[in-house]
Symmetry: C2
Subunit: 246 residues, 2 copies
DNA sequence: CGATACGTTGACGGAAATCAACCCCGGTGG
DNA sequence: CCACCGGGGTTGATTTCCGTCAACGTATCG
């Protein structure tokens, strides 16, 4: 009856990284009606003040949630990658209290709230799983909070890179400790509460110490142990099922 | 059959502040089996690394969630008041990635996960409501993130005080812009990523400007308009149903 | 009446912001 | 083909907010 959407595999891969899925649950997910959309970089997907009636699944690309203060300073709350549904919360919080935008050219799949509700109704375990996902989301916020409050710029950046590596690896976007990081230094700074200048200097430190290499959006972690230590990184807060972290 | 627990009224009042409740839902909540416990200040309720099988409803008192970095620096993630279930997330995230502790002498009510699951199963709308509550929780984290990243110490403290006033008012713990704030300046600092000394100085500023008065745990907002402006506070992110804010 | 916890004050230092150039590189258009 | 342009990255000089250290005041309590 309904079309099967191969784009949903990104979602399935992501969900399987945080809990096992039954085959009929996967089948139900694959039957979700999707509205595909491609966006260039730096476009709003949903804006603060909106009351969306659908959620946005990221199939490809990088996105972020952010707010802008009265004085025009941007704070990025989180980064989102393939398989994430960054505005899943709009299912229960109807008014967007922040914005969601692309950071790189992205392929998006929109899912109607009603379709999600129907899915959850017939597969309550999937509902629990989505809930779990939003809870992990909150856990990530808490980690960022620790970084902003109590870690140096150096530790903060290291921690963020560790987090991105682990999350990207969970959806198989990391090869040999290297991944594509389409973020400008200004964007990294806006995420970590740092100025662009300082972000630049700390990144240079990380490179000169030999922890990472970074050129033109290609990031490679040269010393995973060292980077984790620098960021006091412990992946427990991501609550992944596969613990072959190291 | 089951006993009716009047302590649950704190929870009902809180839930009604974020969504309307049907009378049979209230009745079901009142039938929840509770295990009461009284704790003095500065005691852990749940500790990082625990895998609890019950949630903690705060009936009376102040609590906070927090983490401690390797160097022993504490970061408080959130404050919790009457009606909150700060570790509701343990329902779906079995390993605690942070600790929960009292800040003042508190009256607590523990609810078995199984009882919550049964409740949610028979009243799915309550499940949605609990989910919504954890989403608001995350929204509060995002606001704190904005503060830590992009606001001055002055704005951060002002914002926090605004948030506490609105949340406390939602559960009827504010009278005439005054409320009980049993937090030390060290605790405020740990929440906002500030040193105790600096917290002290900024609080003095807020007092000398005439925005607040604060003595011995008694906080009174003298200039609500001014305090909101100082903190760029907009209560939308709390997603309360009663909007008679100002 | 000391002990202890919390608040307050001053002096000093440091991490990071700000300001202001300048470089590099990939487009693009004349 | 080269000049121009703009976005991102890099660098240095300067400033500032806030942390740290250390002392002292003040209140509550056993």
């Amino acid at each position: 009856m309904d079309a099967i959407h191969p784009h949903t595999v990104a979602l399935i891969r992501k969900l399987e990284s945080i809990a096992p899925l039954a085959s009929q649950e996967k089948a139900a997910l694959l039957r979700l009606p999707l509205r595909m959309k491609t966006l260039p970089a730096n476009q709003d997907i949903v804006s603060e003040g909106d009351t969306p009636s659908e959620c946005c699944l990221i199939v490809e690309g990088f996105a972020c949630r952010y707010s802008v203060t009265d004085e025009g300073r941007r704070q990025i709350h989180s980064f989102h990658i393939s398989g994430d549904i960054p505005d899943l919360q709009s299912l229960h919080l109807h008014l967007m209290d922040h914005s969601l935008g692309t950071l790189s050219p992205s392929k998006l799949a929109f899912i109607q709230h009603d379709d999600l509700r129907t899915l959850i109704h017939s597969h309550p375990r999937l509902g629990d799983l989505f809930w779990r996902d939003t809870l992990i989301d909150a856990a990530v916020f808490r980690q960022w909070l620790i970084g902003m409050g109590r870690r140096s710029a150096y530790g903060r950046i290291a921690h963020l890179l560790c987090e991105l590596l682990v999350r990207l690896r969970a959806v198989e976007l990391v090869e040999d400790y290297a991944f594509h990081l389409p973020l400008t230094q200004a964007e990294l700074g806006d995420a970590l509460g740092l100025s662009t200048v300082h972000t630049n200097r700390v990144l240079q430190d990380l490179r000169s110490i030999g922890l990472i290499s970074l050129r033109g959006g290609a990031l490679k972690v040269l010393n995973w142990e060292g980077l984790q230590k620098a960021g006091e990184f412990d992946p427990a807060y991501l609550h992944l099922v596969k613990k072959e972290a190291l």
